[in-house]
């Protein structure tokens, strides 16, 4: 609503409407108006139904009595590898040392007459006092949850006590061996050491090292990056880093505890919150994933650059929490069973080394532009908010097809028949949509579902043959591709599908390869890539290129923006207007301001509310 001053300006002689419109197309209100069009289309915020609670990141705390009997919080990571079988994977002090047992995700429960004062030797050996990152600096907007910077008795703290393994600082460390020998049996209902669960066994890398170590005690040790899930699960020498910077705090022992105070919703901007409430570290990350998209989009609009960059741009924006996320937290999704493929450290979608070192976790309200996020970055298609909001390859393809091609997938009126055809581009009934959808979804085959882990081509070829797997002893014995030349080749069962294979390659698309002399090889297919191996290798940036390279792009942008501004769906009567605006956009270097200027000056926009309230009440007559 215009202010009284703006109304007075409008009444004044010589008011230049065109100049006024031009001025409006430069400001944040313009960016917000256009952004709202695409937010309504894609709803680019992630809610609590996406649980971002990764083991290597979440720091919980439990209450124990220190050697003097004072109730004290001790922070730890669930799943932390430790040197003692008594505590490997769980809290770092035993029931005998604290008088408490440690069920998962709750405070300790009394054990053997406990709780008791902690054993002094164990206390000094297995816990340390550190100054954590969240108590080391301040910044506007950086506010901790009320309970976090306080001790049990409510007194403020400047340092915290944390398990010794978590306090370790190295960025890389040697793989260590599980302290619970592989041959030792463990009954889940009666674990040893008064534990509540059996100690963890060797991870893949630990097992591999154990084999080498058994043969040669001087065998070279594998190094792992401590910011990855691989490092977290394979080395008791990996901690939370200097100042615990790789870990996010929570004021409790639960699944995801409150750590920060920030707005729950910011519908009119981060600078105009409606509340300030204690929320979790997962909420902290999700909030700024959404804000990253907003800053990215607003920058394109306010700097009046090509709207194609929404899909193709490699630039990005980070504030302090996002910088910390990309540097220290995001790698924690990697690498799972990728270790079988030699994939121990992620090839990131956002190269965190591009973030200026001056950005600290406390710079919540300050956003810094990163000119180039890296070779795999492509608009918002490679941002966490998109990749988690639309977790599956098909969901990602579908929403983009809707929002940027203005096309939908409508099932045909067909009776579906039972079918064993795994190829949905061919299966009767399914192929009506999937013949289009599957090749598009293939563009996202190299970004794992519900996360941002990129699968590089050299480690994960799209259609590897048997020699690829046979060349890697770690995979050879997993049976990713059976020998199709064996007697069981014809009509035999699919290849063994344990996690090392089936997490990445699809047993349904594993075939014999025929040569002149019959079967000469077997071949399998990267998950999600079967419909178009070419698209899979092009990646999200390939899809961005495809979407923006046809006239459908400008037509769809014109349709979406016009529909939003007119407040109704477009009809066949609007085709001329849409085509005109699409041309204006294309001829104007795809700058959105050109389209909006033409739109607000159009007769259709001026007449968009041509039914007066009086006529409206009379039925529109």
């Amino acid at each position: 609503m215009p202010t009284r001053a703006e109304v007075a300006d409008f009444e004044a002689d010589g008011f230049d409407t065109d100049a006024w419109i031009d001025e409006q197309l430069k400001g944040p209100a313009y960016a917000e108006r256009v952004r709202r069009v695409y937010m309504d289309l894609m709803r680019m915020e992630v809610g609590a139904n996406f649980q971002f609670v990764q083991g290597s990141t979440v720091l919980r705390r439990v209450k124990v009595k220190d050697p003097t009997g004072k109730d004290t919080y001790v922070y730890f990571r669930g799943g932390q590898r430790r040197g003692r079988a008594e505590t490997d994977g769980v809290f770092c002090l035993t029931p005998d040392e604290t008088g408490l047992q440690w069920p998962s995700l709750v405070e300790g429960t009394p054990y053997n007459g406990g709780p008791k004062n902690a054993d002094a030797t164990a206390w000094s050996t297995y816990t340390k006092v550190v100054t954590p990152w969240w108590l080391s600096g301040t910044g506007a907007g950086f506010v901790l949850a009320d309970a976090l910077p306080k001790e049990v008795d409510g007194t403020p703290v400047t340092q915290i006590r944390v398990c010794a393994e978590e306090a370790q600082e190295p960025d890389t460390a040697d793989v260590t061996l599980s302290p619970f020998p592989p041959a030792t049996a463990c009954v889940a209902t009666a674990p040893p050491f008064a534990r509540m669960s059996c100690p963890p066994r060797d991870s893949f890398l630990q097992s591999k090292y154990r084999t080498a170590f058994t043969k040669d005690p001087n065998a070279a040790k594998t190094q792992v990056a401590c910011d990855t899930a691989t490092g977290f699960g394979s080395s008791s020498l990996c901690g939370c880093g200097k100042g615990l910077v790789r870990c996010m705090p929570g004021a409790g022992p639960g699944f995801d505890n409150v750590g920060f105070k920030f707005p729950s919703r910011v519908p009119i901007g981060w600078d105009a919150p409606f509340d300030q409430v204690d929320q979790t570290q997962a909420g902290w990350a999700r909030m700024f994933w959404g804000q990253e998209f907003i800053h990215f989009l607003d920058d394109i609009l306010t700097s009046d650059r090509s709207f194609k960059e929404v899909l193709t741009g490699r630039q990005g924006f980070v504030n302090g929490p996002l910088a910390q996320f990309y540097r220290d937290v995001a790698p924690g999704q990697c690498c799972g069973n990728g270790v079988y493929y030699g994939y121990n450290e992620p090839e990131a979608l956002f190269d965190a080394t591009k973030i200026p070192a001056s950005v600290t976790p406390y710079d919540v309200n300050t956003w810094t532009k990163v000119d180039d996020r890296g070779p795999h970055a492509s608009g918002f298609l490679t941002m966490p908010v998109f990749l988690t909001k639309y977790g599956s390859r098909r969901a990602r393809a579908h929403v983009l097809w809707n929002a940027f091609a203005c096309k939908d997938f409508i099932a045909g009126n067909l009776a579906l028949k039972p079918s064993s055809e795994p190829d949905l581009t061919k299966r009767d009934g399914c192929n009506v949509c999937h013949a289009t959808l599957e090749p598009i979804a293939a563009y996202f085959a190299r970004v794992q579902e519900s996360t941002w882990v990129y699968l590089p081509q050299d480690k994960f070829p799209v259609t590897p043959g048997k020699p690829f797997f046979d060349g890697n002893p770690d995979l050879k014995y997993q049976g990713c591709i059976r020998d199709f030349r064996s007697p069981a080749a014809d009509g035999g069962p699919p290849p063994v599908s344990n996690g090392a294979c089936s997490n990445y390659y699809d047993p349904a698309f594993t075939y014999p390869v025929l040569g002149d002399a019959g079967v000469v090889d077997g071949s399998t297919t990267l998950r999600g890539a079967y419909a178009s191996p070419v698209n899979a290798d092009k990646g999200p940036e390939g899809f961005a290129e495809q979407l923006t390279s046809t006239s459908q792009f400008e037509s769809c942008v014109a349709e979406n923006v016009t529909s939003a501004f007119l407040g109704r769906s477009l009809t066949s009567d609007d085709e001329t207007l849409k085509d005109t605006l699409a041309s204006v956009l294309a001829n104007g270097g795809y700058r959105m301001s050109e389209l909006v200027r033409a739109l607000v000056k159009s007769d259709a926009y001026k007449a968009a509310n041509n039914l007066s309230s009086t006529k409206w009440r009379d039925g529109g007559l």
Partner: protein, 232 residues
């Protein structure tokens, strides 16, 4: 059967004779000259009703009208310390105002509904009442008043009301009152005087406002719940 046919033949002969004797041959005329058959212009242009102001724009306008406070500060001020329960919290109203919640894929509300109108009403009353307290009950100079940006004068006749109403009209509806429907100013003047009369009665219910303040508050209520404040 023979008897029936004979009667029918007789009746037909009689009717034919009557018709031939009374009917004249009509003069042919073009169809367009037959009343009701002339050309009618059909208006096929699209008729569109006004659109709902996006809740984001509504909130921004509301905050501007309330003095440019942040949502949290405005919430504190709107709630006040008088226990009047004029306002709850912004979060209580966001969904019913039609604001989308992208986190849970709740879409934007594009049509009004009863709950939305009730919310607008509650927000509007809070805005008006707190503005009366600040602008009319306080000692702010006229230039510092946000809503009732005019000098108080009593009694208010139509001329005095007209100029003051124009200030409010511009504030809430974004254009001069003179451009509105011809009876609008008079209608609102009646609302004002009726309210003043009601509040001046000896048996009037106890109010925080003087009759004049109550009159201006009523005018404010009328504008803040006006469709043109919510639609465009």
């Amino acid at each position: 059967m023979k008897r029936t046919l004979a009667i029918l033949a007789l009746a037909t002969a009689s009717l034919t004779a009557f018709a031939c004797s009374k009917t004249e041959e009509p003069t042919p005329v073009p169809l367009s000259q037959v009343p009701g058959h002339d050309g009618l212009t059909q208006d096929t242009t699209l008729k569109e009703g006004p659109r709902l102001v996006p809740p984001e724009a509504y909130i921004r306008t509301y905050l501007t009208l309330f003095g440019g406070l942040s949502p949290i500060d405005s919430q504190t001020a709107l709630r006040g310390a008088d226990g009047s329960a004029l306002f709850d919290t912004w979060n209580d109203y966001l969904s019913s105002m039609g604001l989308p919640d992208y986190r849970v894929d709740m879409p934007r509300g594009t049509q009004t509904n009863t709950l939305m109108l009730a919310t607008f009403e509650r927000l509007g009353v809070a805005l008006c009442d707190r503005s009366v307290e600040r602008d009319l009950q306080g000692s702010l100079p006229t230039t510092s008043r946000l809503i009732f940006a005019f000098d108080k004068t009593t009694p208010v006749d139509l001329a005095a009301f007209t100029s003051r109403f124009d200030v409010l009209h511009r504030t809430f509806l974004g254009y001069p009152a003179a451009l509105g429907p011809a009876t609008r100013t008079n209608d609102f003047f009646k609302l004002y005087t009726d309210t003043v009369t009601l509040h001046s009665a000896t048996d009037a219910a106890k109010s925080r406002f003087t009759p004049d303040e109550a009159g201006w508050a009523a005018v404010c209520y009328g504008l803040v719940r006006h469709p043109e404040f919510h639609l465009y």
